[in-house]
Symmetry: C2
Subunit: 123 residues, 2 copies
């Protein structure tokens, strides 16, 4: 289980940090941002994010489902069809995470400039 990048089944970790880490995990962030737009099917989501292995996407979705942020709707048809969407809790988190994503886009050039200054200052 656990998609978390660290200390997955961390014992001596306050659970608060754990949730925060699931939400801010590499793929967790991107999944929340995408699902904030609209529901997605598995492969569709995979393509939308890009460069995610099936395994990691599955793990991420399971972790977020377990935390009650993502709703999984598996239809018993052939071929299988599974839709993922956000729960109310997930929408709240997604809003905050998306805000971060937006901020990043807006401030990218400032960051790039800062980097050039920083790198330049050390010959």
């Amino acid at each position: 289980m656990a998609v978390s990048k660290w200390n997955v089944e961390g014992e001596a970790m306050c659970p608060r940090r754990l949730v925060l880490e699931h939400v801010t995990s590499r793929w967790g962030v991107l999944v929340l941002i995408e699902l904030n737009e609209r529901p997605y099917r598995f492969s569709e989501l995979r393509r939308a994010i890009g460069r995610v292995s099936e395994k990691m996407l599955t793990q991420t979705l399971q972790t977020l489902e377990r935390d009650g942020l993502v709703h999984r709707d598996a239809k018993p048809v052939i071929p299988p069809r599974v839709d993922y969407s956000l729960t109310e809790l997930g929408r709240e988190a997604a809003l905050l995470v998306s805000a971060l994503g937006t901020w990043t886009e807006e401030r990218m050039d400032d960051v790039v400039k800062a980097r050039e200054t920083y790198d330049g200052a050390r010959t």
Copy 2:
């Protein structure tokens, strides 16, 4: 370089994702939250966060400094004294990240409940 949990010097990565990943990186999140309260000295910050190795804290701070989010003020005294604070850019990011932290605290019990339901549902 790079504190990021993933793909650190990612080549084929859009820089937008890179910044997002620095900000949402394991220790990056916690550093921003702490520095959002007030400036800290290195060891002080280390204690405030808890369970961070010196190495990781150093790396994280360097990455954030390079991105122009953190200001480093090294006083040339003995023993050395280095103060860290947020830049304007950093404050903006910290606000968003802190919001996530606050949300996590507030919604923790819902998450915990969701987990119990999820785990219970699979015997």
